[in-house]
Point group: C2
Chain length 220, copies 2
């Protein structure tokens, strides 16, 4: 399988980290949706990151849909595989609640960045910026509260999809919108992020422009 | 369960239609993320549609994550339930490929609508509008091609998640961006949409501002 997109995207990064945890080997092509449009288009015509090219050539889009496929694949490949989402329905709804908040935090961070940093000043729209900034802050406050009730977040020992999603969201916002972060008191999320970023799966898919390393055969 | 959000959103609508197909009863609160912010916030603080309020009070966000929960719930509730996604991994990847394209079409339609119709003219950004318009057109052309290889789309007999997602996307674009639609030749998608909109599940969750009807006890 081939994962296309840059690891400064939290959506790409959560897939790259999840694939390691699910023991699914992949190649990574670190193409930018802005700078590498023509090359990206050849692999995934709508130029959307992440794109996952499956072994049969099927192109999957949207990190949640990609992760659905990867969990299904991992569960069928090997019954011993540790999955990243609980199968128990009550626990799964708690996990999906946290992941939903983390994904809104990513989406609103991207929207603020696009509005603030990529648009010419004259075409920025203040009412929109205020609306999405409030949504971002609320999403992180709700996520902090929810993580306080997710035992693996306060005493993390191994990665699951809640921890991966929360940690990639937080790192992205810290890197792209550092002006906003000091206003928020989010100790659980900050500690979780520090723990997650020290894990080998996070380090190999490090935030930024570097591609995920080519791994020797047999290793992930 | 309670579904919050307006049925003019394709993301809300696909959940409302899927819940009927999965035989999961729900109440619907047709709140607008623009006009009903205060009331929305009380139910779902980040003001994001759709929000699904589970019976234990958990709030789920993002239609793909909500549908993950609903499929898990339906499969555990009753083994006889027809699910909306194939469990076979190869078929599932084909389905997720189509759904990914339909969701990009929704996302780009929303972005174009926001840019074009909700922003003051002076803060519209032409380069962005051109970029997302091209992505929208590509997503629909790729979806049309993919539907030609999804047997249930060319001879539909019952709803699945590919058909639901493609049909709600297309209706939304036709309603909100009618200027763009005549430029595209998408016969499979147009016929599929016509068939889907005639189904009772689509009619009960009709496009627009009307809420999903309160159903008598025992019915969906």
């Amino acid at each position: 399988m081939k994962l296309v997109g840059m690891l400064d995207s939290p959506f790409v990064r959560r897939v790259a980290i999840s694939m390691q945890c699910l023991q699914l080997p992949f190649e990574h092509q670190a193409l930018s949706v802005f700078r590498d449009i023509d090359e990206f288009k050849k692999l995934s015509p709508v130029v959307k990151a992440p794109s996952l090219l499956c072994d049969d050539g099927t192109v999957l889009l949207d990190s949640n849909l990609i992760l659905d496929y990867l969990e299904t694949l991992a569960s069928q490949n090997n019954a011993e595989n540790r999955l990243l989402l609980p199968t128990d329905v009550a626990q799964r709804s708690q996990a999906l609640h946290c992941i939903g908040l983390a994904m809104i935090a990513c989406e609103k961070s991207v929207q603020i960045y696009y509005e603030w940093k990529l648009r010419p000043v004259e075409s920025q729209f203040q009412a929109w910026l205020e609306r999405i900034s409030e949504q971002l802050e609320t999403a992180y406050r709700e996520l902090e509260l929810s993580l306080s009730q997710w035992p693996a977040a306060t005493k993390p020992s191994e990665l699951d999809q809640v921890l991966i999603s929360a940690a990639v969201a937080w790192r992205f916002t810290c890197e792209y919108l550092p002006e906003l972060v000091p206003q928020w008191q989010l100790p659980i999320l900050s500690e979780l992020s520090q723990w997650a970023e020290s894990r080998p799966e996070f380090q190999r898919a490090g935030f930024g422009e570097e591609p995920y390393p080519v791994m020797p055969t047999g290793a992930i």
